[in-house]
């Protein structure tokens, strides 16, 4: 398993798989097969995939620990950047076809409509994370501070789920499904943090007991 995870080719494979949703959209666009409302089809698909990749990214840490596969970390940055790329596409569709690049229209929308406000917040929160995703930036910020900054993905994921929930008219099954996934991934972190906090003083008191 370890050899598989650390192989260069696995990374290539994950990259290709992550690009597949985008490639399929392009393929369908060329075949004029995006349905009666192509803009909406692309907008919904890129929105869905943004959220899915946020969830994949958030799943890395719990999976590493639960499955004892620390090498999964190799894919986290890529998955996070895919989430950001799909959000960029999602936002560009909104900017162009929806708002005809009218800045005042966009400002009105962000100001007046909570569902746009939370969606836009998620997008804004992810910009610094994408920019500081390199090794150089981890070094410049220092591990602790970098980690603190990158915790804003939790807020972004919650915003993304609320954005989806507020967008649908009455059938909330899908947004609730994603909300549940995000909740599980965040609650696991809370549990992990609480158990660490509890075991920290215990360890200090009994330093010689092997674990």
């Amino acid at each position: 398993m370890r050899a598989l995870l650390t192989s260069k080719w696995t990374k290539v494979l994950v990259f290709l798989l992550s690009s597949l949703p985008c490639a399929l959209l392009v393929w369908r666009a060329f075949r004029a097969d995006l349905g009666p409302n192509p803009v909406e089809t692309i907008q919904l698909a890129t929105g869905d995939w943004s959220l899915r990749f946020l969830i994949f990214t958030l799943a890395i840490t719990p999976l590493r620990k639960l499955l004892n596969l620390p090498d999964l970390i190799r894919f986290r940055r890529m998955l996070g950047l895919f989430a950001f790329s799909y959000i960029c596409l999602h936002f560009l569709i909104y900017l162009g076809p929806d708002q005809s690049f009218s800045l005042s229209g966009i400002w009105d929308d962000i100001y007046k409509r909570p569902f746009i406000t939370v969606g836009f917040t998620a997008f804004l929160l992810l910009i610094p994370l994408a920019l500081t995703s390199t090794k150089g930036w981890i070094r410049r910020l220092g591990g602790k501070r970098w980690q603190m900054l990158h915790r804003s993905i939790y807020v972004a994921a919650v915003c993304a789920v609320i954005h989806f929930y507020w967008k649908v008219k009455s059938d909330v099954r899908e947004p609730l499904f994603y909300a549940a996934l995000v909740a599980i991934l965040l609650l696991w972190r809370l549990g992990d943090w609480l158990s660490k906090r509890r075991s920290a003083p215990a360890k200090a008191a009994m330093p010689n007991i092997p674990v």
């Binding site: 949703p21 499955l67 005809s100 569902f115």
Partner: protein, 320 residues
């Protein structure tokens, strides 16, 4: 702070290593399988195949109706594969899939309430009630997309005059067909069924209000509200109730489905109005199916000359 005592564990309580390792393996398999299922479902949706339209019958003796627009008509394919018909699912592609076996014959529409002659109409009777006209209307959904469709039918007033509303009749209540057995997707709709709608009597009697039995020269496909529905081109699409089974003339304003669901978002009137936004999105523009960019939405969907007088003196911001 709580200080917990360690429970009294003996060596026998230790999980055997094989079970422990199996649990890991199990978790790993579960994790990978669900991740794959999750991703493949999304990819399958992206590669979505299209579905065939249900059988239709050609309508004969159709004459050209009034109020026709000469704008480019939306393709039949689009109008039959982009539907909001929550009884058959909430995805726009669902009705084309799930309405295929919807039984629309035999069909009767019952007229009740404040009328001199309450009665039931069979579909045959409705089709012969008045000359069938082709009406090419703009149709604008509350979700800010629009289509241009050559509907077939006649003014609702032709039917109303036949049953003679009494002076007490001030409103008309409409009800859609509902059968959970034929419409298993409805339970996910999030709204109550049967779907109900309503109009003020003078709105219903307006010549633009169409009792619709067909489109594109044929009877209505199941997913577009077969076999008979209303078409109210100056109102948001959800007012144009599908698969009608009951029409009731009454004194009181009837409840309407989307208004019951979210009264702050969907009003009783729901006239197309670019100056009154939906709380969650703008109504100033709309996307005509097939277009990339949006266009400006017109007051009363461009039918202001015909219907504006119905609302003189009314505050349309309050009566949205």
């Amino acid at each position: 702070m709580l200080i917990r005592r360690a429970p009294d564990l003996t060596y026998a309580d230790v999980t055997p290593k094989s079970v422990y390792l199996n649990r890991r393996k199990f978790l790993r398999t579960m994790g990978i399988t669900s991740a794959m299922a999750f991703a493949s479902k999304g990819l399958w949706e992206l590669a979505a195949p299209t579905h065939k339209v249900s059988a239709n019958t050609k309508l004969t003796g159709v004459i050209k109706g009034p109020f026709n627009t000469d704008e480019k008509q939306t393709s039949y394919e689009d109008v039959t594969h982009y539907n909001n018909f929550y009884e058959f699912g909430t995805d726009k592609r669902d009705p084309a899939k799930y309405a295929q076996n919807f039984r629309t014959s035999p069909w009767t529409v019952s007229i009740e309430g404040e009328v001199k002659t309450p009665r039931k109409f069979t579909m045959d009777e409705i089709l012969k009630l008045a000359p069938l006209e082709e009406r090419i209307y703009r149709h604008r959904c509350v979700e800010a997309w629009s289509i241009v469709v050559p509907w077939i039918g006649f003014s609702f007033s032709a039917l109303a005059k036949l049953v003679e509303p009494t002076p007490k009749a001030k409103y008309v209540a409409f009800q859609s067909f509902f059968d959970p057995k034929q419409m298993p997707q409805a339970k996910y709709g999030g709204i109550d069924f049967p779907y109900v709608e309503g109009l003020r009597l003078d709105e219903a009697m307006h010549p633009l209000a169409l009792l619709c039995v067909g489109m594109y020269g044929e009877t209505l496909p199941n997913q577009d509200g077969a076999p008979v529905r209303m078409i109210l081109p100056w109102k948001y699409g959800f007012k144009s109730i599908k698969s009608l089974v009951k029409i009731r003339f009454q004194e009181k304003q009837p409840p309407t489905t989307w208004n019951l669901f979210a009264p702050n978002e969907y009003g009783f009137y729901s006239n197309v109005n670019p100056t009154v936004d939906h709380p969650r999105w703008s109504q100033a523009t709309e996307r005509r199916l097939g277009d990339i960019f949006k266009r400006k939405t017109l007051m009363f969907n461009g039918y202001a000359d015909q219907v504006a007088s119905l609302y003189t003196g009314m505050d349309l911001k309050k009566n949205y």
